[in-house]
Symmetry: C2
Subunit: 418 residues, 2 copies
């Protein structure tokens, strides 16, 4: 019998009726002969409520609460509740289910509370229970340090828990049940002709997740890629039997027979463009700018230094997450004299649109198609960045949907067979 | 430095503002030089919500969920949340606080899930933290089995957790902060002249708790008595400084200088009177009746066999909790032929009123005063039961308040100095 990991997100655990539906899906896989481990999120909204309480407790004296191990004690409780409820429901359907909390498995993590990383999952207890025919329910998002303190992985960490458990027990696959029925060529709310992908490679999924597709958490994709755990994303709003051959499988590129040149169009509005005007055109100046930003933990995404005004001065342009824009601008102003630039401009009305596809490696003209499609719609490209399998452009935010639809059509994504 | 245990109930943990007030009370005791361990309940209402969810999960197929270890996984989460929030609040006030969950302490319990009993609390971890100057916050109501499964103690179990922690760390006292400001001579809602007792003996408190006073859970008083842990009951709706010399101390009888003959009047409406008419007056018949009830886990309180109809037949009268009345009556009817009685009567319009006091041991005429006071008000006594330090009477429920007030006056309880 093969082992299978199934993961249910917050909307799939939102109330008892949804928990019962999840239980039916789990039971069906057990009936089909799988040894099943289930990873669950907290009821949707519950984690937000718990976090708000910790904010309130933390604000008693105005001090920060980040990295507080007591934050994890509070917030980890949400998944404990749904895990117990799912186990009870399965038992009442006649299945032998058992909850194993983070400290019981154990899921050993680093001690960076609130943002811990999974270090190790000794598989013995999980395997013993699975081999004894038990359905093991594990709360996602939580773990325990070597010294026995509860940790949480940071928001969205339940996907990562599921993949890590799948790797630990050598599961044939990790099925992520969520509120969408798979990975699409782009967001169907923007392009109604978006098609569900039957398969996508780890590398493409990783780019898509990083570039704004919210289907899977980036870290979970990294882990699946590193551990070679096939992941299937599919809808939890189905009954047993309806989930056969559904969803999108995220797997090794080698296992994808019909490769697309471009698999998807991703976009993100969480962008801000910062321009430093009149920067001395000297060695080390750019390095100084980005060193300051790195020290302040501000992530810089796209960088371009192109608009020279004269031989001695250049303009330095970079993008950061929109929520970091003010902090980045304030930081730059505080070192204006030290670095020596004339002025700073912050533009939050920008969006990043990207095309992703492993086929780019072997096909030429992909970028040309992109630029032409955007040009035909009168969309100005402000910044370009590329990797081996993606091209991103920064554009005026107002053109986001237009750009997405234009690119979706240009690469024939509306004709991909699901 | 002496060790002190402080316990806060659900109303004292109901929201962040109340948690902050509890934190101020804890901080004040730490400032006064105590090494403090705190035991907390879940936010009021939270446990009911969690239990309702487990009921829902359990009802998926209509099966019972009692004794389900997954019930405990779900329900124990409520105290985990308040423990973490209180620790965070204390930290933000500048105190070194740490939560230790049931499995971290560990609080070792039996494996009767949902109704576990504390077996052992190895004090090493608690003592190490306390001696290092940490305020240790322990969620009440929860523990862990020897095999590492989460347990809960049953409703009201947080008082018991607090007393057990106090015994484990040899605390000078266990302060139970609750929504009343002490133990009263009777319920102030019934008799406005009720007075707060400065001290009450363990034995009296145990009788009061068993007889319907809801201030402390019976099991916690038993434990405090067995372990000789002084308990103080006081209001959590005070600010630091206001709690000095407040509340009621439950302690050894020897430590009470000014002993009262009667310390309190307790009453319970959770009573039902069952009469079996025309029972054969033979050896073994009564034993058969009570054996049947015991097998069905129905607790019998008062028993009297007095109303003989003739030499061969008697009427057997006993009382049970009102919620057990129907089950007891149905059970008796099912064995009517076997035991051989004529008819059964069930009366749910009864109440039990009791006087409690260690002074009864050495004073005569206490019962006489009770019967006379009730007689003067025209209250008929249906059944009487006594122990060394209490006398209980069963009366028509309609006379409950009248009886309580009459007895309160008859023993001069309105003149006790708090």
């Amino acid at each position: 019998m093969t082992r299978l990991v199934m993961k249910f997100g917050g909307t799939s655990m939102a109330d008892l009726e949804r928990i019962r539906r999840a239980a039916r899906l789990v039971a069906a896989e057990a009936d089909a002969g799988h040894k099943v481990a289930v990873v669950v999120s907290a009821m949707s909204g519950k984690t937000n409520e718990l976090v708000a309480w910790t904010d309130g407790a933390g604000k008693a004296s105005g001090k920060a609460i980040e990295g507080d191990d007591e934050y994890d004690v509070v917030v980890a409780s949400g998944e404990q509740v749904t895990a117990g409820l799912l186990s009870m429901t399965l038992r009442n359907m006649g299945y032998d289910a058992v909850t194993m909390l983070g400290w019981q498995v154990p899921i050993i993590t680093s001690d960076v509370h609130g943002k811990a990383r999974i270090l190790d999952i000794p598989p013995a207890k999980l395997e013993t229970a699975l081999d004894a025919g038990q359905i093991v329910v594990v709360p996602g998002f939580q773990g325990v340090t070597e010294s026995g303190r509860i940790t949480t992985l940071g928001r969205g960490g339940s996907d990562t828990s599921a993949v890590a458990v799948a790797a630990a027990v050598k599961a044939i696959r990790c099925d992520i049940y969520t509120d969408v029925d798979g990975v699409y060529t782009t967001d169907p709310r923007v392009e109604s002709k978006a098609r569900r992908l039957k398969k996508i490679s780890f590398e493409e999924m990783l780019e898509m997740a990083s570039l704004g597709a919210k289907v899977l958490q980036t870290r979970s994709v990294e882990l699946a890629m590193g551990q070679r755990v096939p992941v299937r994303v599919l809808s939890s709003f189905v009954e047993p039997g309806e989930n056969v051959d559904q969803g999108t499988i995220v797997c090794d590129e080698d296992e994808i027979v019909e490769k697309h040149i471009v698999s998807g169009v991703a976009f993100s509005r969480d962008e801000a463009k910062i321009t430093l005007l009149g920067l001395p055109n000297k060695i080390g100046v750019s390095a100084a700018v980005f060193a300051k930003l790195a020290e302040a933990n501000i992530n810089v995404d796209m960088i371009v230094q192109s608009e020279k005004r004269s031989g001695d001065y250049a303009n330095q342009l970079f993008t950061v997450g929109r929520r970091d824009a003010k902090a980045a601008a304030d930081l730059m102003l505080s070192v204006k004299e030290e670095i020596g630039f004339d002025d700073i401009k912050v533009d939050e009305n920008v969006a990043k649109v990207s095309i992703v596809g492993v086929g780019m490696r072997s096909h030429t003209g992909v970028a040309q198609t992109m630029f032409q499609a955007l040009s035909e719609k009168g969309i100005n490209i402000q910044v370009i960045s590329t990797s081996e399998i993606k091209i991103s452009v920064l554009i005026d935010e107002a053109y986001t949907e237009l750009a997405v639809r234009a690119l979706h059509a240009a690469y024939g994504l509306d004709k991909i067979g699901a």
